[in-house]
Amino acid sequence: MIVTYKWLNDFIDLENYTPKQVADLFTSIGYEVDEMKELSKGMERVVVGKIEKLSRHPNADRLQVCEINIGQKKPVQILTAATNVFEGALVPAALDGANLPNGVCIKTSNMRGLESQGMLCSGEELCIDNSVYDGALVDGIMIIKEQDTPLGTNIAKFLGLDDVVYDISVLANRPDCQSVKGLAKELGAALNLPLKDATFRYKASKVDLPFSIDVRDDDCPYFLACVVKDVKLGPSPLWMQQRLKLVGMRPINNIVDITNYVLWELGQPLHAYDYDKIRGQTIVVRKAAKGEKVLALDDNVYELDSTMTVIADSEKPIGLAGIKGGAEYSVNDKTKNIVLESASFKRESIRKTSRKLGIRTDASARYERGVAPISCVAGVDRALALIHELKVGKISNEIVSNTSVETRGKTITFALDYVNRLLGIEIPEMEIIRILGNLGIIATVKGKKLSCITPPIRNDLDGPSDIVEELIRYYGFDKLESTNMQKTTPINGGLSEKQELKNKLVDLMTSVGANEVFTYSFTSPKQLDKLLIAKNSVLRNVMQISNPLSLDYSIMRTTITGSLLEVISNNLAHKNTDFSLFEIASTYEMPQQSTELPIEHNVLSFVDVSNDADFYSTKSIVEMIGQSLGLTLSYKPSTVSYLHPNISADIVWANKTIGYIGKIHPRVCKNFDINQDVYCFEIVLDSIPQRKVKKVKPLPKFPASVRDMAVVVNEETKTGEMLNAIVKAAGQMCEDVELFDIYRGTPLANGEKSVAWKLTFRKQDATITQQEVNDLFDKILNELKVKFNAKLR
């Protein structure tokens, strides 16, 4: 919301406050000032002067000597190189000491033997264009057309730029402050200043133009209209045009400008229709018929549906309620009589229609936030007063409306003690009454109760906490104490299981050299193709965003590996190599029922493009995680589409597949523009139980006996299966089995490998004997012989 210092001053006397103080005050009461522009900055020493005499410079062909009357006894002499100046012209004259808006400093100087006591300015030098002053961008000095301008007038004042413009963020719950008056009222409350008297007066009479309204739509709680006869269309006065321009609106004609002026000043949208175009002399507020069309002021034809409210005459829509008027019914040169509309529409209705049709206007923006019926009355009064003041037409003494306006506010009564209870500080009773009174809230204290009657325009005030907010807003947050929950119940805090697990895994993953990334939870359906995911795969059962930013961010991911491959690809493109990444985040599984929320799996995903990465190094990280979480993991062949079919496995825990590990399928690498081997794993952490505290085993009392066993087996023999066989055969007395070497080559035959195991045997209750060790050794060897056709090497 843009307001100006002077416009605010129409409603409240700000004389004793600088523009900066006003800005700070706005911020302190919740109206953040996004920008403050002092428009006259740099124009302090630029005045309107008249060129009384013009002569050539005796020593310089290109310079002219101007004798300028600046309304003082003595004229000033200014030299200029511009050629568009002439005797009698009014021009902006920058005097000695001026510091122009474009940064140029003006000093009296000697130019080829003659003194120049300033500079004549172009529009460019004043940093203004034709929108501020028609003719500002002329080549040469800006010529002021208004010959009756008093000489010596400050140029900023002449241009209407002797003002300060604030761009203010108005909070969503305060539609009443989307106006100059609304903001002035808030300032007044903060400064303890009353609003200036602003009663709008006008003369009305019988105008002899029949007119009626018929409101049939509940989305229009209040509709008010008035006829103005014999309008004299023309430009609005300069002061009005200048103000409209300062707040960013284009002056059009006196009628439209008045409606815009009132919109800005009071926040009430108004619309003027050409009375003589309205068939049946009646305005109907109704829902559009499906397929009904309207040609709007922006020259677009909009096709409507039956949820949209229209303003119609006896036949057709003449405007989109609260959004835009119809082109054929707008005020133009030929207009003789007008109907002025001031109405209130429901927020959601305007919002929906505006979104559906894709039109947003100053009016719709205000209706979306809420326009109270009572504001319609003030709006039409103000507009009619301006019409009267500017002698635009004859005002009808009949203002028609569909109902009467509620002028009483709500009553909110609560225990006075609640103020202290919520704030933690006492606000003196007198202060409470004063602050609320300044806001138009009539507050009375009876015993221990505070009773408040709210102004009808303040729809946001609903309960005791709303009143307390108003109190602290104006009493000041700086008056709050800083306490630290001393009066709350002491309780113990703690991490959630999920958070604890995450902390552990982040530490573990970074300790093995992986870097943590945060990637977007949504991705592109194309990624699923790049991952070679089959059309019927569950990974294609994705939650789809109905209004995504783009296709690239349109589905919720069902695996994180894809996102990490994108990150690898980006890094390789930046010549970053030899690294590994991980992310702990959610994947989203579509629920069975479309009414349920999806299952959000907690997933750890890892990818590795380190120079020394291979399947086994990746597996060792998975095993480390298994140890850390107390899980015994096993592996079985995997069918994950984006993994190498022979270098991949499903990770199994407690007979459930909880993830996968492997080399990324070379074809997938190609799809992601990755020209290196990538190893990865992904583990779903959902079902992993919190690790229980384990009681320690007593340390062994008797010595262990260690034996090595190297056996020759066929190349295809799985070492994991051998290990299982060894453990099973060895029984209780086998403490540890470790694979320590695999050998291929002479003297072994092709297709053979020697697998060497370190076996540790121990008894808990006695020293294990050589005989026992030998027996176990033979038993294990025998098992390997039977199962894998192994030969002792």
């Binding site: 933690g424 977007y520 939650m543 970053n576 380190s610």
Partner: protein
């Protein structure tokens, strides 16, 4: 015989002292104490000695044997020490040699900030609660007192799956889930991803991370909130940092406020980081709206509460001087590695 023993001992001592390697010690040992050693010979000769002299000579012989053993042992230790010293002299490293460090991964800056905040609040009795990212309209809006026609519900701000299901726009949804399941006193924090319809640019992202704080108890006030926020800001940016509270509006808190911290770069004097204002916007907060408590089955006449929510990307950007929010999600290794 006694003389003989003394003679042998003298010789033995001399030999042991002059021995210069372990081998000669072994030989010396054998020469005197071995099977055919000189002392062993005398030992065997004891049987020919008279019974009177036997105990005395026996004792002398034993003493001599022990003495030799001891001397040998002593010399052995001496020789070992000398040997070790010699070896140590030859073992050298170049301590300035550049090496490739063991790989250490970096924890993402957002994670680091999350952890820091979690530790800070857990130590003050707060419990971490997990939330859902895909939420229902009820938890994300309705229960939080966000009216049906509130602009936040618009498809221009919120990603929807259908009329009911959406990507949460704030972690405040977790407040509701917490209060539904847990009765006061409540001190909870929650952190995670939230989503808003924003194009990706240097200061916007359709996905970002929030941190939520909620306290509900019989005696908790806006002054408590002020104190908690002031301490938090000092924890984050240092003791000298000041907090400015500004009135604001959120449907789920009343009174609502926004907290600004004095700019960490200029200390409040005004610079390009704070756009000359001296302050940096940090978070939104307020007293829990009575309707929100009511929606969760908590009696607003008995309990009050405060809540606050802060954006972690913004915090990370201020703390680490990150200029472009995209850096946080791009995963460029050169960026990430700086957070080791």
């Amino acid at each position: 015989m006694q003389q003989k023993i003394e003679q042998i001992m003298k010789e033995a001592e001399k030999e042991i002292v002059s021995a210069n390697n372990k081998n000669s010690l072994i030989q010396i040992n054998a020469k005197y104490l071995g099977k055919n050693g000189e002392l062993s010979g005398l030992m065997r000769g004891l049987k020919d000695v008279s019974n009177e002299e036997k105990p005395k000579l026996g004792a002398i012989l034993n003493e001599a044997r022990d003495r030799i053993l001891e001397l040998v042992k002593q010399k052995e230790t001496e020789l070992e020490d000398a040997e070790l010293d010699e070896k140590i002299k030859t073992e050298k490293v170049d301590i300035t040699m550049p090496v490739k460090p063991k790989k250490l991964g970096a924890i993402h800056p957002i994670e680091q900030i999350q952890r820091d905040l979690i530790n800070y609040f857990v130590s003050q009795g707060f419990t971490v609660m997990d939330g859902k990212e895909i939420e229902s309209d009820y938890y994300c809006f309705e229960a939080l007192n966000v009216p049906k026609d509130h602009p936040a519900r618009d498809a221009q701000d919120t990603f929807y799956f259908d009329a009911e299901r959406l990507l949460r726009v704030h972690t405040s949804a977790t407040q509701i889930r917490t209060m539904e399941n847990k009765k006061p006193p409540i001190k909870m924090i929650s952190t995670g991803r939230v989503y808003r319809v924003d194009e990706v640019d240097a200061t916007h992202s359709p996905m970002f991370n929030q941190f939520e704080i909620l306290v509900v108890d019989e005696n908790v006030t806006l002054s408590d909130l002020k104190g908690v926020l002031e301490n938090l800001v000092k924890h984050l940016f240092g003791e000298k940092t000041q907090v400015r509270l500004r009135p604001s509006y959120f449907p789920f808190t009343e009174p609502s406020l926004e907290a600004d911290a004095t700019c960490v770069h200029c200390g409040g004097k005004g610079c390009s980081v704070c756009k000359q204002t001296g302050f940096i916007e940090l978070l939104g907060a307020g007293m829990v709206h009575p309707n929100v408590l009511k929606n969760c089955g908590i009696d607003p006449n008995k309990y009050v509460g405060f809540a606050a929510g802060l954006g972690l990307e913004r915090l990370a950007m201020i703390k680490y001087g990150i200029n472009d929010m995209r850096d946080l999600f791009d995963g460029n290794i050169k960026f990430l590695k700086q957070f080791k």
